[in-house]
Amino acid sequence: MTGIDNDQLQPATAPTEAKRGWRMPEEIGVIVALVAMMVVIGIARPRFLNPINLFSLLGNTTFLGMLAVGMVFLLAIREIDLSVGWMFNFSAVFAALLMVAGIDPWLAAFAGVLFGAGLGFLNGIIAITLRLPAIIVTLGTYSMFQGLSLVVNKGRAIVPADQSSSFFSVISQKLFGLVPVAALVFIALAIVMHLVLHRTRFGYRVQAVGSNPEAAEHAGIPTAWVKLQTLVLMGAICGLSGVMYVGFRGAIDPNEGGDFVLVVIAAVIIGGTPLSGGHGTIIGAVVGMMIIQVISSGLIFFGIDATWSTFVTGAVIVLAVSLDRLIKFQRARRAERSRETLRR
């Protein structure tokens, strides 16, 4: 039996090893899809490919895109945070109120980020002490944050009166008159978070817990602590996105953020992060968010009624996950077949 195993396995392992060197990045599929969409729209409406348009598109992606970056960690650890939109809103309202109260906007923005982290901490501490999935906890805190935010903003947009601070000008500035600073912050965040996911102990633990919580526990991985850290990180990113929104727009609407969560999750899933946990791609999530943006703005370019964009976005999600399923199914079948050969 062992003799057979030896003969069978040795040749089988060699190609796997060799393949690793030049394997295509897994995000190649969504990247190709994004480029293809842009080319198609660009051929029909060349104005679309104007750099000014493209960069403003990127700018619009910023706030939701940052949330998507954080959500990748949640999905990778096999959790979902539903409260992101209201953490975004509440942190923005909090920071804006501090600015209205006369506190230095930079300081207020910093406090807003911490405030977001605090909201995430609240989610996390409830989830780990009660051993509840984050999706259930945040189903509750979703309304709590929404309600509290509404109480403090009294249903009106918060507009910091004095916008002379460098905070507003820096965030809303465009480098070379073209590239929004906010978008640069977003790209920087994505790069940092990509490294955090793949090159840090924390990122490793997130994937390990998401892949198999039981085995993670048995390997001595502090699963509750990792879960808490992930939810705090999500909160902090919501806070960052929120205060940047205040800096970018100069105000925060009472309802801004309410419809974010599903778009954010959609972007992450279009990007290729599975709901089953253990694995995530930041690059995919960023590209996924861009795809959603390109669709809605592409429709406008084609003169199609903007009300269609919601439908098309949904259709793209269904299409993306169907393709993903198909590929996974085929891969699993191939793996199954090779396993059958190896075993017994």
């Binding site: 039996m1 062992t2 057979i4 195993d5 030896n6 003969d7 069978q8 396995l9 040795q10 392992t13 060699a14 796997t16 090893e17 690793r20 793949h198 090159r199 840090t200 102990r201 924390f202 990122g203 490793y204 633990r205 994937q207 390990a208 892949s211 198999n212 039981e214 085995a215 993670a216 526990e217 048995h218 390997a219 001595g220 991985i221 502090p222 253990g278 694995h279 793996a335 077949r337 090779s338 396993r339 059958e340 050969t341 190896l342 075993r343 017994r344």
Partner: protein, 512 residues
């Protein structure tokens, strides 16, 4: 033997890709007997059963039922020919009632509605016959494991099979439940039902079966009446080499650290007030039936379960770990018995899995270095001879190689205390041997090794002494010449020490 066999299997062959599962399998089962098929993992017995149940189609060979050649296109075809299969893993719906489970997919209907009364009427006789006296409208989850096994059996019996295939039917049962099941099987045999019985537990095979077919490497090696066979003869037939060969001899101590694990009056879960010590350099066996409390003991020592009372002193001078993370940081390791659920991240690579403890549990630099992880993987793949590339996913490996990953991820941190919960479960003989020599090395390197197993021969072949746990109590210890299968089995099953050197027959032999 002039009796016409009810089932005849001739020259059955089945290959999965390049691997031969069945080579030239022959089997003749006489009506009204219980016929055992034994063999190591990978010997081909599960594939044989799958062919008979219509799950797998053979590449070559013939199956005859009552002298007529049959070929099954699927499980339903096998069922129609009167073959009933009771699977090792229970396939019941725990939240549904006993009745609902008995009539899954063939619920009797009256006036367009599923009729519970009809179900009850049809099954009550059978349930009485099986000795299953439970509320049939209550959900299955309220039943004990033994009763669930009987429900599973009843479900198959409702189809009135002529040939019943039992694949390790008692793997989850304690000794009393096993006795009860065996009583039922004996009654079924008296009622003329023929049974094929697949099991790892030879003592039980000997107590219940009339004939035994030994399989090895996809062939039948020997078939004989139980009365003409002995356990050592069967084992020899199964592994095809001398048993001593399987267990590597103790290695010379390579470390002169002297450390000790002291447990006094430890209670928790099922375990009640256990006291013992284990020293570095020795392998201490833990024997006990499923549910005896051995797993709880190991879980407590690993910090996965809270203790109710008692004191423990680890070699580092501290007590029980507060959590598994604490245990890992104090170099206490546990190899869990359920490898796929608790030991592996199946969709992740070998490399990822091997970093579980070193990166996941231990403190250190906040960065994760892919290069260090690759070195780590290469090191363990070489040391443990894991057959796979670092990037290969864990679920592409065989059971033995998977288990080596579980062990390897701990070896990375040089544990002082090894808690091994049935580490050879479901691995083939070759891998078993390698795991045995790993355990020898752990002990020779100055580690404290607690080794629990469901297979007595390996406890006896490997351990310096065996602690026996019976229904939560640590009832004694077998050392030296006492470490025979008889003594330990007796202690495991009855909770009493065997009186005197004159041994009574095996506990299953006389009970009916």
């Amino acid at each position: 033997m002039t009796v016409q066999p009810i089932l005849l299997v001739r020259n059955l062959a089945k290959r999965y890709g390049g691997v031969v599962a069945l080579d030239d399998m022959n089997l003749a089962v006489e009506a009204g007997t219980i016929h055992a098929v034994v063999g190591e993992n990978g010997a081909g017995k599960s594939t044989l059963m799958k062919v008979l149940a219509g799950v797998v189609r053979p590449d070559a060979g013939v199956v005859e039922l009552d002298g007529k050649i049959v070929s099954f296109s699927g499980t339903n075809a096998a069922r129609e020919h009167g073959i009933g299969m009771v699977y090792q893993e229970l396939s019941l719906f725990p939240e549904r009632s006993v009745l609902a489970n008995l009539f899954v997919n063939r619920e009797p209907v009256r006036r367009g509605l599923v009729s519970l009364t009809e179900m009850e009427a049809r099954s009550s006789d059978l349930l009485r016959q099986l000795g299953l006296d439970v509320d049939v409208r209550a959900p299955v989850s309220r039943l004990s494991i033994g009763e669930r096994q009987l429900v599973e059996l009843a479900r198959v019996m409702l189809e009135r099979p002529r040939l019943l295939i039992l694949d390790e039917p008692n793997s989850a049962l304690n000794s009393r439940e096993t006795e009860r099941l065996f009583g039922v099987l004996r009654r079924l045999r008296a009622g003329g039902i023929t049974m094929l019985y697949v099991s790892h537990r030879l003592e039980e095979v000997f107590s219940i079966c009339d004939r035994i077919t030994i399989t090895r490497n996809g062939r039948d090696v020997r078939t004989d009446d139980t009365s003409t066979l002995t356990i050592p003869a069967v084992i020899e037939g199964m592994i095809g080499r001398q048993r001593e060969d399987l267990f590597p001899p103790p290695l010379p101590q390579t470390s002169d650290t002297q450390s000790q694990l002291t447990v006094s009056n430890l209670s928790g879960g099922r375990l009640d007030s256990a006291s013992f010590t284990a020293r570095s350099g020795e392998i201490v066996g833990l024997a006990g039936l499923e549910g005896s409390g051995v797993s709880e003991l190991l879980d407590m020592l690993f910090g996965m379960r809270k203790s109710r009372g008692g004191e423990v002193r680890f070699p580092d001078g501290q007590g029980l770990p507060r959590s598994a993370t604490d245990a890992a940081r104090r170099r206490v390791c546990l190899v869990p018995s359920d490898r796929r659920r608790d030991g592996l991240m199946l969709d992740k690579s070998i490399l990822f899995n091997l970093s579980n403890v070193a990166v996941g549990a231990r403190r250190g630099s906040p960065l994760y270095s892919a290069r260090t992880a690759l070195e780590r993987a290469r090191r363990q793949i070489d040391a443990l001879r894991i057959k796979g590339a670092p990037s290969a996913p864990a679920n592409s490996l065989s059971g033995g190689n998977q288990q080596k990953i579980v062990i390897g991820k701990w070896l990375e941190i040089g544990p002082q205390v090894f808690l091994l919960d049935d580490p050879t479960r479901g691995v083939d003989v070759g891998a078993k041997r390698e795991i045995y020599s790993l355990i020898r090395r752990m002990s020779a390197g100055g580690g404290i090794v607690l080794f629990s197993s469901t297979e007595l021969p390996e406890l006896i072949g490997l351990c310096d002494r065996i602690l026996v746990v019976y229904q939560g109590r640590l009832i004694g210890e077998a050392t030296g010449s006492q470490m025979s299968e008889h003594t330990v089995l007796h202690m495991m099953n009855t909770g009493e020490l065997l009186a005197g050197p004159q041994q009574t027959p095996s506990p299953h032999g006389t009970a009916a």
